[in-house]
Subunit: 567 residues, 2 copies
């Protein structure tokens, strides 16, 4: 491709609308443009990278028995009403009516559609397993679309659905997809982790998220450097921490004026935080909840939500605390509480002579002992894992990192096949629901996540496998005939042997061309200047490392191939 | 691909919902399934053919300087309101609101979006010409979606938009696209014609439609076998037919009881139809219109509509004729009409002593002479061309055919660039509107049109270039180890040399497999039976011709390559 023909309008300034680096760099390098909030046009450079990611995804899906099809984006409401998700999705679903006033949505996902499809054509166990996938636009009306392609309203997904005879088949499909995802992200050149994740609203047990590691990631993950454990912090399990037994002392009240935080309490009473009980009040659709963790710990809301089975959960406001619970904000505690649901983290059960709020302004209890002074209605692991907490598998202190979720594999079991009556006849002629899994990759998000992980102060640093082009050739002067002729020759030779090259034939200053080359992030840059035309040496610079190689003109093709292969 | 792994659920019965052959065969061969009215899932076989058509389109667009990008499907209303098309599109446009109550549509086309995009990044004449295209779902809420993929509501289009400095540039872009389209449909193996077409509501002059010739086509076209003229009948121009001069006779009234049709009049009065004037009354948004053609001719409504510049046109009902015009249905005529707009076809101006309705029940005028007995307000070519009418270019009698429109090239000139203020600075620094063209190919429709043109009583007969697979290998007995082993070997060898093969490894009767092979329409079928295992001869049947070849097993690959190349 010649730069004069390439529609990649680069920008010198960072547009004010862009908060994260991938969004900034994709706008600046002329990869994307905004069509509306959270809705983008992919310009040619972006589309090339998307197509390369898609090709990798396709190969890996096909290698695991996946078959590609393409389902509608517009979906009739009826099937969503059958599974109950027409209501569950709420404002996140884009809805519309056709001219006959029939209800449709723009597919946020396709469980309903694929299950309805397979149900009509699959009758016998001989037709299973089936692994069907598509790559297609998905729609989600985010409350606050932002971060460019990281959280957009129209985005490209690969979604595969597996249909098996039984749980054993599902496990096999799941494992194959897990492997395929590992291959996909490895081939894309990404540093990532597959983490144990929480099932969330989709239901079903068994799910992993594939996280691209990046400081800007929205998700917090933990991992163990000793064993292969890693998990989304929302999911990571924790055992109770055992503390040495103590004699139970007498419950007393102390005055703690203006002492509303754990930090203030420990300072005033001169104790460490692990001697205090932190009490959090939540308002949920199942009523108010008191959640107790040790003072140096945090509550994991997702665990609380799953435990209670509530759809909504948020921190209670002061009015609820004072009026409904008759307590004083900042001084809440489980002793004598009016709250009917009290959930204690399992570590709280192992504490002795602890300190907690007395539900009266400016007072705390000392020497609180669980079961003697209060009894929780539920005891469970509701703690948020932290750096250096023991690994649930091997007890070595875990590390934390931030990640961008680019894929998820999910066991659906019979949730949708039962709701939509997708059954098959097993080898005894019995009607049996198919056992399903679903597996998503955010294709456009993977592109953005790659940039979040691979960039520097000058621009994007593409991994070779998904770079829009491999090499840019920059003649120092577009007016120098010898340079242009040599550059053309190199351009033709590279393309002829499958190395995708851009010839920057624009009549611009070399500085402008070099800046664009770095911004767009071609893995290699070949400079064709006097050294090339006079000394038969071409200069090749590696974008990622900054290394410069001088290759003799009679053998540079092999050298460049070797260089690309080693990147 | 192994048939046991291929998701292509074939049906023995023709589903009642399918009226046309492409719809029937795509359902029966397991290519598509209905998601909702006019909305389909493409199963693996269909998707492979679509991808092949897309690849051909891409190559031809790129060869003409096209650059691929991908615009949003969801488009904000504002840009459509700027060009006025938000209202023009009416019920055909799918509309929706986001959670903030902002208006969006699902793109039926992308002139507004691409012009807005280019406007923001293109400033200088140096950045032109630009030819940008995408391949993507388009949406049109058809009043009556039908015929499967021929008239659906969600369909795949390629749309390219050209931006040039001036009309000369536009002509060059247009010619290049015309050539590219010719290449695309030729490579797809289609018999087609590029016909002169009517501009319609999009406006602008200069447009051709690419029509796949098929009896089931919705469009009527004419073509000349002597010169290269061809046109949509709506567009085909006609010159006035000169008849020998006659002396003007006296206008008289004759009783013609119950004689409401041209046929009845000619019978009663014993004259030929070319002596009568046919008068048609239309109701339009610009009032009532009388259209006059010779009795053996038909009115071309599109020509009338363009002439008058009305948005809607329909035959007047009897009430309008009697109450508004004070005339009697079946006896309408231009002499003494109350209608203020009378349009005469140019041939009517050359008639002498003609017969027409007298606007009174059961009466006709005889010896009517234009300009003496009535004066039209407009004279123009408003006649519909018919078989054997003279070719507008060379006067040889034209032939008629039916076609399916699969592509259209269109000169937009400055319609959208002016409305959306998409200007550039010319080489004198003057702000100038870009000159645009648009060029569409119905990708999914091309697939259906191919089947309309290429089928027989047994199923689809794919052209090799866009067949989902090239060859199917059918072992007579899946239980015969020698046959299966040889079939596997052939399967591996074919795929290894790039011939896309399906191995029908299903444990079914040969008759079932042969039927499916014919239905799906693989260009070649290789039968592996006793003849193959005993005599080292494989039988290859050509789907299109029914020819059977026996190839020696030691050289069959070359033979098959040659056979495919010759198809």
């Amino acid at each position: 491709m010649r730069a004069t023909l390439l529609y990649a309008p680069t920008l010198r300034e960072t547009p004010a609308e862009a908060e994260v680096i991938s969004h900034q760099l994709m706008l600046r390098s002329g990869m994307i443009r905004r069509g509306a909030g959270g809705i983008y046009t992919y310009l040619p450079l972006a589309l090339r990278t998307l197509r390369k990611i898609e090709a990798i995804v396709r190969q890996e899906m096909d290698a695991k028995g996946g078959q590609e099809l393409l389902m509608p984006i517009m979906q009739p409401a009826e099937m969503w009403q059958e599974t109950g998700r027409w209501d569950v999705y709420g404002d996140e679903m884009f809805r519309l009516k056709d001219r006959h006033n029939r209800d449709f949505c723009l597919g946020p996902t396709h469980e309903e559609m694929i299950t309805t499809l397979v149900k009509s054509d699959v009758r016998s166990y001989r037709q299973l397993p089936l692994r069907l996938y598509q790559i297609q636009n998905k729609y989600r009306d985010e409350r606050r679309p932002r971060f460019g392609l990281m959280r957009s309203r129209e985005f490209i997904m690969k979604d595969l659905y597996s249909f098996d005879k039984d749980e054993e088949g599902l496990n096999e499909s799941y494992d194959k997809m897990y492997d395929a995802y590992t291959n996909v992200f490895t081939r894309c050149g990404l540093t990532f982790r597959a983490v144990e994740a929480d099932g969330g609203a989709i239901g079903g047990s068994g799910t992993h998220e594939f996280m691209v590691i990046a400081d800007s990631g929205e998700a917090a993950i933990v991992y163990c450097s000793a064993c292969d454990y890693s998990a989304n912090v929302e999911k990571a399990e924790l055992k109770a921490i055992i503390t040495p037994e103590e004699d139970l002392k007498m419950l007393t009240i102390v005055d703690t004026p203006q002492t509303k935080s754990i930090e203030a309490v420990t300072k005033l009473l001169n104790v460490s935080a692990d001697k205090t009980i932190k009490t959090i009040v939540y308002t949920t659709d199942k009523g108010s909840i008191l959640a107790l963790v040790r003072g140096d710990h945090e509550v994991n809301e997702v665990k609380v939500q799953n435990l209670v089975g509530c759809l909504t959960i948020e921190l209670a406001d002061e009015k609820t605390i004072t009026e409904t619970l008759g307590s004083a904000a900042g001084f809440i505690g489980p002793v004598g509480t009016k709250c009917s649901t009290v959930i204690a983290d399992s570590t709280v059960m192992k504490m002795y002579n602890a300190i907690c709020g007395a539900n009266t302004a400016d007072q705390h209890y000392m020497n609180v002992n669980v079961l003697r002074d209060f009894s929780p209605t539920l005891v469970a692991d509701i703690r948020l894992i932290q750096e250096n907490d023991p690994c649930p598998h091997c007890s070595v202190p875990v590390k934390t990192a931030r990640g961008i979720e680019v894929g998820q594999v999910f066991k659906l079991h019979t949730k949708y096949s039962k709701a939509l009556k997708a059954t098959y006849l097993d080898n005894n002629g019995r009607e049996t629901p198919m056992v399903m899994g679903c597996y998503g990759i955010g294709v456009s998000r993977t592109m953005a996540a790659t940039i979040e992980q691979h960039n520097d102060e000058y621009g994007i640093v593409w991994p070779v496998a998904i770079a829009p082009y491999h090499v840019v050739i920059v003649p120092i002067s577009a007016k120098d005939e010898a340079q242009m002729s040599l550059a053309e020759q190199i351009y033709t030779s590279l393309n002829a042997c499958g190395i995708e090259a851009v010839l920057d034939d624009r009549n611009d200053r070399p500085g402008v061309k070099f800046k664009d080359a770095d911004l767009i992030g071609y893995p290699l840059k070949i400079t064709v200047g006097p050294k090339a035309t006079n000394d038969n040496v071409i200069e090749v610079k590696v974008r990622r490392t900054g290394e410069v190689f001088n290759f003799a003109i009679n053998n540079y093709l092999e050298d460049i191939k070797a260089l690309l292969a080693a990147l």
